[in-house]
Symmetry: C2
Subunit: 213 residues, 2 copies
């Protein structure tokens, strides 16, 4: 298995956590999102991933993009240990939380959107920071409220799941962008527990071969 990714990309980070959790061996192939005008835009990479985004998983004949599609694929090929444990109801809650982060928050704050704001709309640094603050606050406020309903040791109940896989990179990115997390005590305490899990710790951006200081 080969995973094309970038150390600091949230979506790559999710895929690494899932691969580690399922004890899948994989080669990590860095795609530098800033060097050479963005290596993700190069033709060879675009043939694997037409969106020019990371990550991409290659597994024999299977070439897959979109982190959540990759993780659902891993779940089907390697069902134990499961990232979607429990009843359809519980699996629904897990997927809803995962999508709250991956489909509502991350797309609004990722590199290409920040570049568009800066280059096309010529927003100031303050406006860019206000944009980030706004969407993090919207998302994490709702997420904290959901955690009040469904969390236990982890995001949904007491078992590690896809929701936790998605939370870790999002909090990492919040910290990177200077987002104040005081209003989210449950989110913070779950994040603290998650960081101690070996399959999470090993997936940290700083531990990747393409990490920069």
């Amino acid at each position: 298995m080969e995973l094309y990714g970038y150390w600091r990309s949230s979506a790559s980070y999710r895929a690494r956590i899932a691969l580690n959790f399922k004890k899948c061996d994989y080669n990590y192939l860095p795609v530098h999102l800033l060097k050479d005008g963005g290596q993700q835009h190069q033709q060879a990479y675009r043939q694997l991933n037409p969106n020019g985004l990371v990550p991409t998983l290659v597994h024999g004949q299977v070439i897959l993009h979109q982190s959540l599609a990759i993780i659902e694929y891993l779940e089907e090929k390697y069902p134990r240990p499961s990232l979607l444990p429990g009843s359809p109801r519980q699996r629904g809650a897990i997927r809803a939380l995962a999508l709250d982060l991956c489909s509502e928050l991350q797309p609004l704050i990722n590199l290409r959107v920040q570049q568009y704001l800066k280059q096309q709309l010529e927003v100031s640094d303050e406006q860019k920071q206000a944009w980030l603050d706004h969407w993090f606050t919207e998302s994490f406020t709702a997420f904290e409220q959901s955690l009040n309903e469904v969390s236990g040791e982890y995001c949904v109940g007491d078992e590690f799941s896809l929701a936790d896989v998605c939370l870790v990179p999002q909090v990492y990115s919040a910290q990177r962008f200077g987002i104040d997390l005081d209003a989210y005590p449950l989110l913070q305490s779950i994040y603290g527990r998650l960081q101690e899990l070996p399959w999470v710790a090993e997936a940290h951006p700083d531990k990747q071969p393409d990490a920069e200081s």
Copy 2:
């Protein structure tokens, strides 16, 4: 089953197509995204859906938000006819295309983002249109390239799937925003076929009780 939605919301439209496809009876409960400052922000609705977004599905004790989580839940409860037919590889391709639209494109063009651009960043009408054009072009260009690899009668092979469920509302919204579709012949021809399917036609925004002229 109850579905809270809004006639013109892409995510609600997806859920309606999936419910129709699986022949699930449901009550449709309109949430007006513009009236009363946005009924999705009212406390009673926020208790069902902390994000203040549509749709929300209520099925007995199950309260679920996020259209893709709702559809995966329906798929688990009512597996036939399937929206994720085929091998793990094919299911991966279907989910990747669905997420390309739901996680990369739709979050950037939805109502709340357009409101933020207008109200907080005070962009001009031209800048707002350029924003929409840019993200539709990015997304549909990649989507067309993916269709070249995996499509048949429908987005992935010859069976209707979750990818088609997600394509229909996205093309509807492109047309609404005046996006030129000439560069995407495969996308257009598949969209044409999809519109003739009864479970798609019945889910059209104009056919909903809250439709406006």
